[in-house]
């Protein structure tokens, strides 16, 4: 059991090193296949993990439930790592981390499959695949870390690979732009994580341990003073990653400049680290301080929803638009977490997964459109995609509808539960404020619909006469179909059967 977890942690790393060891010519040819095999194995392993986990081991957002909500972790490996610093190597999974791990494995796998046929213009596939595997390992590590410092380390592992991916394989039309985007991303995230580390150290000073299980069992109480400072630092550090308005500024550029697989991983997986951290660390470890800052967190999330949607309405670049839509959606997740209610929490967790799937699909589609037109600028691409690329257009419409939270598709349940959580938040929170937030967020869903419809209208629809089909624009290729169909299926499946995930988290 824990062998599986260790395996899916170690396998990608070792595989990446082995890949770099290969000679370049050979490596470039084999890379995608090799990556597909490895990440496929990881995916199998993560699914195996899923079967064995039951329940959510810790959620102390509601204090009185603390006692009976404790369930044992699965796949635990616990050993000393750096005794002088009190750092342990403690990993394990429960039902809130496993779905995210599976999502990570799935998206990486799909990216590798996608790279079998469709590769960035620069080539250098060997390094690209290897970096993807490293990122996968880091993210899985972060999702399974049960020690604050281990979490921090895994949180940092992904930075440099992602920076390289954006900087090397990014938009090959403006080199300066992609370098700036990459650097902004990595620097802001590093600063955030440094602040988060300070928060962890404050926690350590109070509690004397970095171990999440112990910290969850006996959280750091007290809503002001050092716990509050720690909570603030941790929240800000993670908010950079989420990203929460106004710390989102790195996101649009990073997503817009990154290569397709980079955007997919970035939006589908990396953003989840932030929200996962909030749920896994902030809420259980610093309950009282969290209650103190929750209203502000919720407020900023609500602003993020509105500001993100409005910004989307003003975008003229399809990748930027989708990136900004992530700002809005992550705002919803933040609101759900800040409601500190079970509905909100589960909504946030659900929305994490749903956003990963749907936005992954959206970025795949955006990448496909960009590859076909060699630009992602709506005005240059022209309109009437239905006429030129009917299948891709239809898929885009589907993805947009899913992303704007159409009931019956995956996007809905998360947002619904989050709004429900905001409707009756935890008793310790000001209800009236949250009602206001709920209403604003509800209007935000309308804005979301507005910008997605605008996208469909300006991109897919229009008069074919004045938007002639470009010569090389071939419709949905087989590899794209293979890559995207799992995402589509999952979107529908989770949409009609939310219990699939909700049952995992069950009654806390």
């Amino acid at each position: 059991m824990n062998a599986i977890l260790l395996g899916i942690l170690a396998l990608p790393l070792l595989a990446a090193l082995a890949l770099w060891a290969l000679p370049i010519a050979l490596g470039d040819r084999l890379a995608a296949l090799y990556g597909a095999v490895v990440s496929g194995l990881v995916l199998v392993g993560s699914v195996l993990l899923w079967q064995r986990t039951e329940g959510w081991f810790a959620y102390s957002g509601v204090q009185q439930r603390l006692g009976d909500s404790m369930r044992p972790l699965a796949a635990v490996t616990d050993g000393p790592w750096i005794p002088p610093l009190g750092v342990r190597f403690h990993i394990g999974v429960d039902s809130i981390s496993v779905p995210l791990i599976v999502l990570t494995a799935l998206l990486t796998f799909l990216c590798c499959i996608y790279s079998l046929k469709i590769t960035p213009r620069i080539g250098r596939m060997r390094s690209l695949i290897a970096l993807l595997l490293v990122i996968e390992a880091g993210v899985i590590g972060a999702f399974s870390a049960m020690d604050l410092v281990l979490f921090f380390v895994c949180f940092e592992i992904v930075l440099i690979p992602m920076w390289l991916i954006i900087d090397i394989w990014g938009d090959d039309h403006d080199r300066a732009g992609r370098k700036r985007a990459a650097t902004t991303f990595v620097l802001m995230t590093v600063f955030g994580s440094a602040l988060m580390l300070l928060g962890f150290l404050l926690v350590y000073r109070q509690a004397g341990t970095f171990d999440l299980v112990q910290l969850t069992n006996s959280p750091v109480l007290g809503g002001h003073g050092v716990p509050l400072a720690a909570a603030l630092l941790i929240a800000v550090g993670l908010a950079v990653k989420v990203p929460l308005w106004p710390l989102h500024i790195w996101l649009p550029d990073a997503h817009a400049k990154a290569p397709t697989v980079g955007s997919v991983i970035l939006a589908g997986v990396l953003l989840k680290l932030g929200t996962y951290g909030l749920i896994r660390i902030l809420v259980p470890v610093l309950p009282d301080a969290t209650v103190t800052i929750a209203p502000y967190l919720a407020g900023f999330s609500t602003v993020a929803i509105i500001a993100g949607s409005l910004a989307c309405l003003g975008q003229t670049d399809v990748k930027r638009l989708i990136a900004y839509s992530s700002v809005g959606h992550m705002g919803f997740i933040g609101l759900g977490i800040a409601s500190l209610s079970e509905a909100g929490m589960q909504g946030a967790l659900f929305a994490n997964i749903a956003h990963g799937i749907i936005t992954g699909l959206l970025f795949f589609l955006a990448g496909a459109i960009k590859d076909r037109h060699d630009t992602s600028d709506l005005r240059t691409i022209g309109r009437a995609l239905y006429a030129r690329l009917p299948r891709i257009g239809a898929l885009l419409t589907f993805a947009c509808l899913a992303s704007l939270g159409l009931p019956g598709l995956a996007g809905f349940w998360g947002e619904m539960l989050i709004l429900l959580g905001a409707y009756n938040p935890a008793d310790s929170l000001p209800r009236a404020t949250y009602l206001v937030f709920m209403v604003i967020a509800g209007l935000g869903t309308v804005l979301t619909a507005a910008y997605f419809l605008r996208l469909i209208r300006n991109l897919c629809q229009g008069d074919p006469a004045d938007n002639p089909a470009s010569a090389f624009a071939v419709d949905l290729s087989r590899i794209e179909l293979i890559t995207w169909s799992p995402l589509v299926v999952l979107t529908v499946l989770l949409g009609v059967w939310p219990g699939l995930l909700l049952a995992q988290w069950g009654n806390l």
Partner: protein, 483 residues
């Protein structure tokens, strides 16, 4: 008349080093018959052997207490001028490893460069003698002597190539350092005047019971002493000589300055702080904290736009010293030694890589490294790893955890503002090193650096890499150095 006693094991290492130094000099002077090649090998081996002995000795004795030059006093325990204790063992270990690394590094290039082998190793060893003495010193006189014995050989080393640049670099380093010595001595004289003793412990005891005016004098004196060390370790604002000197000296001498001489300075300062010149909560610690903040910020910021590899390393070493000063300001010896060890290993590695490139590309610009990840994969990967460790990001876990320890000690000492400054500097430092890494990854590159690297270089760089990897995988070894 009082009698003093000495445990000779305590001074065995400096003694052996000194003897080795003399031996090297004699061999080089009187054994003219052999070829330069042979002489060079012999000298190098001898030096290495001597240092190696020191390391082994330290390792063997690492956790027992051996005083030297002690004399009984009426009140309190005996005053000893030089003490070998676990802390000393850790510092000596770092210094000697650094020295060994420099020897290895110089084994690569000396033949071609017009540097007299014998003098070089003699000076190296004598500097090590000073460094070890400094790290073990427990009274101010010994501190001064040790410091001078570190410094004077290093100027000679800088000037050893006897060329225009070398002389200028030496002149700058010399003037600054001598001024700093003067300032420090001035401070010491006042400390002596206030307390009537030069033994650190005694001084610490007597500082407590001073009246206000004398306390102010003592503070000024302590400030002067710290400033003297500030020159030595190039803390801002006493850093300006460093970049010029680093650029002017031969690369392995630069490595020596960055590793041995700097570590010696840090060691001396650490001794002063932990043995009570700056007790907990004293203003002097505050001064060191301020120095740390300013130093790391200025160093990293200035490194941000450098175009020459050595200059960038010079400024970044200033930044690193800032990070070293942070735990030093709260007297956390363990964090300091751990950080120092990681810094020494990685800096040696980086200078090794730079030495290889600069031998073939004398201009030493960052652009010379363009595309190396494809043309010279091994060297590039090693260099990237060193840089990442310096930046303190995975996979460079050694750097990450030493920085982590620094953060931890600062947080535990309730120096929140310093912690924030450090966080900001982690970001700036990352920006600094990423510029270089980006150059390495940049493809396609017009005439990328590609040569068949000489075997000694390959050996040395891979050794450093191995060491760095080991301490990254098992960071606890770093902190085991000083327990």
């Amino acid at each position: 008349m009082t009698l003093t006693w000495t445990d000779w094991q305590a001074i065995a290492v400096p003694l052996v080093l000194a003897i080795g130094a003399v031996a090297v000099l004699l061999i080089d002077a009187f054994w003219r018959s052999s070829t330069a090649q042979l002489r060079h090998t012999v000298v190098t081996l001898l030096t290495g052997a001597v240092i190696l002995f020191g390391i082994v000795f330290v390792w063997a004795q690492r956790d027992d207490f051996k005083p030297a030059f002690c004399r009984p006093v009426t009140e309190g325990p005996a005053e000893c001028s030089l003490v070998f204790e676990p802390l000393t063992a850790g510092l000596w270990g770092v210094l000697l490893i650094g020295g060994l690394g420099v020897v290895g590094l110089s084994a690569y290039r000396l033949l071609s460069a017009d540097i007299p082998v014998g003098e070089y190793h003699f000076l190296l060893l004598s500097a090590l003698v000073g460094a070890t003495t400094l790290a073990g010193a427990r009274d101010l006189a010994t501190v001064v002597i040790g410091l001078e014995v570190v410094s004077l050989p290093s100027f000679a080393l800088v000037a050893l190539r006897r060329d225009r640049r070398g002389s200028e670099a030496a002149m700058k380093a010399f003037l600054v350092s001598v001024l700093s010595t003067a300032v420090m001595l001035f401070g010491i004289s006042y400390l002596y005047g206030v307390t009537g003793s030069l033994h650190l412990t005694t001084i610490a005891n007597r500082l407590n019971g001073l009246d206000a005016n004398l306390e102010r004098v003592a503070f000024a004196a302590g400030l002067f002493v710290i400033v003297g060390f500030g020159f030595k370790i190039a803390a801002v604002p006493f850093h300006a000589w460093l970049p010029d000197t680093y650029v002017g000296a031969p690369v392995e001498v630069t490595a020596f300055l960055a590793v041995v001489s700097k570590s010696a300075g840090v060691a001396g300062l650490l001794v002063l702080v932990v043995t009570g010149l700056a007790p907990d909560g004293s203003d002097l610690r505050l001064v060191i904290a301020i120095l740390a903040a300013v130093t790391m910020t200025v160093g990293n910021l200035a490194a941000l736009r450098q175009r020459e590899a050595v200059r960038l390393l010079a400024w970044s070493s200033i930044g690193q010293v800032g990070f070293l000063l942070a735990p030093l300001a709260v007297g956390d010896a363990q964090a300091v030694v751990g950080y120092l060890a990681a810094y020494v290993i990685v800096t040696l590695g980086a200078f090794g890589a730079v030495a290889v490139v600069q031998r073939h590309r004398p201009s030493g610009l960052l652009s010379d490294y363009r595309g190396m990840v494809r043309s010279e994969p091994g060297l590039a990967v090693a260099l990237i790893f060193f840089l990442v460790v310096l930046a303190g990001l995975p996979p460079g876990l050694a750097g990450l955890f030493t920085k982590f320890a620094a953060f931890q000690s600062v947080i535990d000492a309730h120096l929140g503002w310093l912690a924030i400054v450090m966080a900001i500097n982690v970001m700036i430092g990352l920006a600094v090193y990423l510029r270089w890494v980006a150059e390495l990854f940049l493809l396609p590159a017009d005439d990328p650096f590609s040569v068949d690297i000489e075997t000694p270089a390959v050996v040395m760089v891979s050794l450093f890499t191995a060491a760095a990897v080991v301490v990254s995988v098992l960071p606890s070894t770093l902190f085991a150095l000083a327990t």
